[in-house]
Symmetry: C2
Subunit: 212 residues, 2 copies
Amino acid sequence: MDLTEKITERAKEFFADSKGSHDWDHTLRVYNTCMHIGRKENADMEILKIAAILHDIGREHQDKHNGKYCHAEQGAILAKKLLSEFQMDENKISRIIHCIETHRFRGSLIPESREAKILFDADKLDSIGAVGIGRAFLFAGEIGAKLHDKNVDIETTESYSRDDTCYREYLVKLRYVKERMQTNEGRRIAEERHNFMVEFFNRLNREIEGNL
Amino acid sequence: MDLTEKITERAKEFFADSKGSHDWDHTLRVYNTCMHIGRKENADMEILKIAAILHDIGREHQDKHNGKYCHAEQGAILAKKLLSEFQMDENKISRIIHCIETHRFRGSLIPESREAKILFDADKLDSIGAVGIGRAFLFAGEIGAKLHDKNVDIETTESYSRDDTCYREYLVKLRYVKERMQTNEGRRIAEERHNFMVEFFNRLNREIEGNL
């Protein structure tokens, strides 16, 4: 086993009890998208691979506490500890940690390096398009939210509540994802996936109203 | 309050603890679709209205026992008891009960009356198209299933398991819905919603493979 494989095996352990919307499969999708964008943007692929593999290991901690902790901050702490066990170069570790701690959409830290920008884009792309719609409904099911309310008021309703539907997530976050992209290739894919989401919700509303 | 409103109030009580994929909103959508198809097919609207309102009151019983009981049979028993409290004509009751006990896709009883056929179609239409996709992902989240596996083997995987994804539900049931429609208007809507599901899953697979 090479270093990346060893880290992958360790990373998987953090997903033993994970829910479907943020499980190990999400990490694999983000990894694949990172590889795609990374090649186009001449990234340091070793840094990018390890950052992608480890980017969500703090997720369970956030979910267990109903969103009280930031999984990016928590993931950076866990990743630093894990990587130090492999006698990795301190500079490499800090470049990887920078990617992990800045990957969150709602986070306060900004991705500065090329690899951090690519991880940010790949992670966000997994929240839009058909895959994003599927994940948002799945997450709504996990927290006991209802199917849909086209008139949901995002100001008076709360996350992790029965009103925290896929469509609310679209209004609060998903519709803005394309504006936050950090790389050219990320932006191109985001535009295309965004248009599909718009089409999906238009259709959903018309079906529910009985017009389709 | 007229009779339908009184029955509606009683019916709602059965959904106090219901999950999003089969909650009271589902009943309202089915009711609207019944009204739409019923007008086109010259149905007895009183029978159809009450049947639509009561069709899923046995759902919680089925869900609480992980699918061991049939919610259509259970719903028919509960509805009979409820309607007899309103001194309703025995013939009307039995026509309503026929609709409820035959509305299940996997059920053994066949819808014979016009109203039963319409309720069957309206209920099934709510499981396909954009609304069907949303509901199937929501249900997958509720039972702790994962997001997607395009190679899922429906023979070796089980319902109510981690493998019981939206796509598995599509392969097992949703892709056949259009062939089961009982009315002309139901068939027309089903064809159209079916095509959107095909498009959605094609897109989902391409996104996950990193090709879109």
